[in-house]
Amino acid sequence: MGCSGSRLDEDGMGMPPKSRPVFLHELKMRRHMTRPSHKDAISTPSKKELLLYDKDDDGSSTYKNAPQTARFSPKGGGEGEGTNKHEDDRKHKDVRNVDVRGKGGRNGHKVNKSEISSAGDAEEDEDYDERMIGRAPGSPSFRVYFNDGGEDIHNDIGKHDDFKSGGAVSSEVSFTDYYRILVEFIRVSVVAARQGFAVKEDVRNYKAKGGMQRQSCFGKLESLERGIRATALRAFSSSGKEMTVRDALNSALDEEMSADPKVFLMGEEVGEYQGAYKITRGLLKKYGPERVRDTPITEAGFTGIGVGAAYYGLKPVIEFMTFNFSMQAIDHIINSASKSNYMSAGQISVPIVFRGPNGAAAGVGAQHSQCFAAWYGSCPGLKVLVPYSSEDARGLLKAAIRDPDPVVFLENELLYGESFPVSAEALDSSFCLPIGKAKIEREGNDVTITAFSKMVGYALKAAEILAKEGITAEVINLRSIRPLDTSTINASVRKTNRLVTVEEGVPQHAVGAEICTTVVEESFDYLDAPVERIAGADVPMPYAANLERMALPQVDDIVRAAKRACYREKFE
């Protein structure tokens, strides 16, 4: 994903080594690349910007390191023309309006002076489209940011991707624009492939600038383009593949729907809106409105309809916008779905999946932040799965859809945008993870930390911190709340003799309580310390940022509990 730090050659050919993914823009904007100051880049708070940047190998981001004054214009063209257009470049130091296609550049296109705005005008210039911001001279990767041109930010609940993960403010794209970008992408990919480049298309929102006809191919795009990115990454990147949880879920749904015509999606905004959190992006287009059903805001109604369809033999995937709304339909999940196979002695099976984000997001308040793992985990007849990484998301969702029993699939909104490495095996369309098996994310000998969903990430960070203090923690990613993999947990506790359970929900009657009791029952003699529980506060979720932070487990809490379990800290 990141550049390898190699420099463009001085001979003007500018051909990076073959293994390195190259930004699309390199190929096109090779002549007109300037780098406005770092200050400019972020000094326009009134505009909706997207910062798309590359991380250095050491993990730091480009723009923080960008020198303030150096200008960079790569020489030569990716298309191997070899003509030296340096003179032209130097005339257009402050070009903002970049010839994206590069045709002008190849032919020595002179940018009209009236289109050039000075660096200082960035704030006022509502019309500028994009700027190329290079790194230190010779560096091949670029930062591009785009002005959304004054449209309102979509204040959707789903758009929680922040700048850090390259979030996009999405806007509507017309079909022709989408088609054009797709064609352009294919064209560039072909060109790049011919020259042995790997192409990485990182496209966020573009706004076609009125005056720049050549750039009209880049219209406004939906964040659908991230799907292209993910595909391109998968297809072309030779370094380890990464995938966001969102893309993992999307690909799992896609594959299962294409494999079995009985699978269909139902939920609010899953179709034309492309999913409230864009999980079902592209599926309506691919499978049609019969199989991707937008519903009115009637959870009890559409959940009942889904369960009825499952009675008949179809395989519905019902999406709740968040699991908080599943309470409106919980009678159908429990009384109509989970109990039917038992009450009918096997006549009526219910192969349904209920999925959606669960638990706290960021600042969404009490009614939108409840964790339902313990609620659904206490229902016989249900299976409850809680993925963490992309591989979990893919494998468990595929297993859930194939499973003949009702499955409650608890995702996490804040994990949707996070990228995780995925193995080649996980990308296979028949990849499934077993239900009811936990995964040991990190081996250790001193203390066992069990966690699920977002808390696995926290537990891993806590394990890092503990490792520096000489405590090796074994982190277990539960993956499945019901059935709970008590054998893995017990085996781990028998090895480490200490246990810390971590979860986001309230501690009373929660998953951690069950794990503690199980361990006490099965491995009492192996415990060297009382079991520690880290859980959310026993309060409805507050809104204020400091209170919310206090209401949720933090990495420090896990570290402290682990140390307590190891008798490294005094009890209060």
Binding site: F264, E290, R293, T295, P296, T298, A300, G301, F302, T303, G304, I305, G306, V307, G308, A309, A310, Y311, Y312, G313, L314, D331, H332, N335, S336, S340, N341, Y342, M343, S344, A345, G346, Q347, I348, S349, P351, P380, G381, K383, D403, P404, D405, P434, I435, G436, P483, T486, E521
Partner: protein
């Protein structure tokens, strides 16, 4: 015997004297008879069908037989409950048999029916046997749900009967889900979601009806209006007790639910409508003689005069009896013999069901999941009772 031979017009084979009266009745002719329904239909946003119903003597006699069997079964269940052989809930359907029987005559086993807890007779109509029913009521392993369901959870998926639901109103979205699946699979069949006047006020019903109308699903909502939702009369529960009009944009039909032929006509009409135009509501004006369940005497919220009045004037079995007698399809005595025969059949089955054993202890942990992955499940004392789910 000679009289009967004389009366039958299309008798194809000689009937031996030894053959019982019922055999006579079932080999009766198939000449069409036209019957008028007791009342005209009332439509809401729709043209009601005609009052004339085509039927045959065979059908008439089978209606009589089936309804007598259902009536007998319910009364026998009453005594079994009082003898404490049936436990928990027992919601009886006697008085409402015409709805079950008329509906079955209009549809096939590929159409689906889903109903609430008053499901014994619908189960029978869908092809369930008496043995299945009584064994299940008594919680024996020969029951249709192996004794694990009980009175409210009879199922027969192969004949399109999806239960049997204990939660008032929940069966309506489920039934509309069945209709959704039928349309998805392009099956050209319909689903009848049955509910009562008490459930007619449920929100989820309207949520699901909205979606059924949006997506043109072949769903038929059948409100069995027996005028009492448990102990609450309909005028106390619903601002608008015209349940067939409650669908607003969804057409509705009000039907005399004590007349099996009116029910048959309405269901036939509704099936044709639903396959073409989407959902329709049928309100069956019917009555139950028993209370809401066995723990309800049924007389605290209505007078005994009312109950006996309906029994005298509108009883479905009596109506069929009169029709049969007026068309000279059987004698009074033959009908009485049929009733005796049904009674004997029911008693025999009950005796057999009583001998059926209770389910095996291992059945406690079966069917929790279809695929259990070898997960452990525990009993009350987990050190004593554990099982592995297959």
């Amino acid at each position: 015997m000679a009289q009967i031979i004389h009366r039958s017009t299309n008798l194809l084979k000689p009937v031996s004297v030894a053959v019982s009266a019922t055999r006579h009745l079932t080999t009766a002719s198939t000449t069409p008879i036209t019957v008028e329904t007791s009342l005209p239909f009332t439509g809401h946003n729709i043209e009601p069908p005609s009052r004339s119903v085509e039927t045959t003597p065979q059908e008439l006699l089978s209606f009589f037989r089936d309804m007598v069997l259902m009536r007998r079964m319910e009364i026998a269940a009453d005594s079994l409950y009082k003898a404490k052989l049936i436990r928990g809930f027992c919601h009886l359907y006697d008085g409402q048999e015409a709805v079950a029987v008329g509906m079955e005559a209009a549809i096939t086993k590929k159409d689906c029916i889903i109903t609430a807890y008053r499901d014994h007779c619908i189960f029978l109509g869908r092809g369930g046997t008496l043995m299945d029913a009584f064994a299940e009521l008594m919680g024996r392993k020969d029951g249709c749900s192996k004794g694990k369901g009980g009175s409210m959870h009879f199922y027969k998926k192969e004949s399109g009967f999806y239960g049997g639901h204990g939660i008032v109103g929940a069966q309506v979205p489920l039934g509309i889900g069945l209709a959704f699946a039928q349309k998805y699979c392009k099956d050209e069949n319909v689903t009848f979601s049955m509910y009562g006047d008490g459930a007619a006020n449920q929100g989820q019903l309207f949520e699901a009806l909205n979606m059924a109308a949006l997506w043109d699903l072949p769903a038929i909502l059948v409100c069995e209006n027996n005028h009492y939702g448990m102990g609450t009369a309909e005028w106390r529960a619903a601002k608008s007790p015209s349940y067939y009009k409650r669908g607003d944009y969804v057409p509705g039909l009000k039907v005399d639910g004590m007349d099996a032929f009116a029910v048959k006509q309405a269901c036939k009409f509704a099936k044709e409508h639903a396959l073409k135009n989407g959902p329709i509501i049928l309100e069956m004006d019917t009555y139950r003689y028993h209370g809401h369940s066995m723990s309800d005497p049924g007389s605290t919220y209505r007078t005994r005069d009312e109950i006996s009045g309906v029994r005298q004037e509108r009883d479905p079995i009596e109506r069929i009896r009169k029709l049969i007698l007026s068309h000279d399809l059987a004698t009074e005595k033959e009908l009485k013999d049929t009733e005796k025969e049904m009674r004997k059949e029911v008693d025999d089955v009950i005796a057999k069901a009583k001998e059926s054993p209770l389910p095996d202890s291992s059945e406690l942990f079966t069917n929790v999941y279809v695929k259990g992955f070898g997960v452990e499940a525990f009993g009350a004392d987990r050190k004593e009772l554990r099982a592995v789910l297959p």
